[in-house]
Symmetry: C2
Subunit: 162 residues, 2 copies
């Protein structure tokens, strides 16, 4: 695990996300890292991040954490696949095409949440990932994401148009 998170490599123009942007002072500022061949992030919920009943997380928080960790993990996996560093240019910013979340059990908010990701397919313009959210050693939710490298898509579109 290194000290500099995947999101810390995002150029300033892409660093405003409420979930993981370093320049969004009101947001979660999620930080994702390599941990072996999987990726990892941690998040401490606040007491008001509750679901219907106090003490458990609301579904939207869980989806948010999986989403932001997923796109950051897609970026890191794409760089690894290309054999380039995270600060290589052109920057590859991944956006979520689809995210499916399975909520397995209520997620307690009184402790640190662990979010894990694993790229299961890395293609030229998309990365497919399996994600999970763990609390107190128990997997409370899993996710399946398709993330697209939109910047590359825009670049190809411009090339074809002009």
């Amino acid at each position: 695990m290194t000290n500099k998170a995947f999101q810390d490599y995002y150029p300033d123009d892409f660093s405003h996300c409420y979930g993981c942007g370093k320049d969004n002072k009101q947001g979660y500022q999620l930080k994702s890292y390599w941990d072996g061949d999987t990726t990892i992030a941690h998040f401490q919920p606040q007491s008001y991040h509750t679901g219907g009943m106090p003490g458990k997380a609301y579904g939207g928080l869980i989806a948010s954490l999986l989403d932001c960790h997923g796109t950051a993990s897609a970026f890191a996996a794409a760089c690894q696949d290309k054999g380039c560093e995270l600060d290589a240019e052109p920057f590859m910013r991944f956006v979520t095409a689809s995210l499916k979340v399975d909520f397995l059990k209520p997620t307690p908010i009184d402790g640190l949440l662990e979010i894990r990701g694993k790229a299961i397919e890395v293609a030229k313009r998309k990365v497919i990932l399996d994600l999970s959210l763990i609390a107190g050693g128990e997997t409370c939710a899993t996710g399946h994401m398709v993330a697209n490298n939109n910047i590359l898509i825009v670049f190809i579109y411009i090339k074809q148009t002009f």
Copy 2:
């Protein structure tokens, strides 16, 4: 459309959700209603609900809105299917078993968002719904949800155990 939202019928013990609980003062307090045979809710994002780039919503917000509108719509659809009022007892509180979100295009945050739901299957212990998020007349995201009536499940478990 009536003045009292689905979420306003939730008992106090279930009204703490960050996304839609009337008793969560820091949350979104989403309100869902019938609109013909579909359900509808509206939400005005704040400027800090941005995704990577300013001006567009972050994915977690979109998932949150679809999630909370979906479970509320499942509750309303289950009541309608049973032919009972929203304040009938025992109260049926639906929780998300799974939610798949397809992000079709960036969602602007400078205007009111419309969230729509339609129950496509109502069974004894679950409701399946199609959801959508619309901004400026354009569908920016769609969702597919399986919602479980957890209260009923707990009740059955207790009955079987003791």
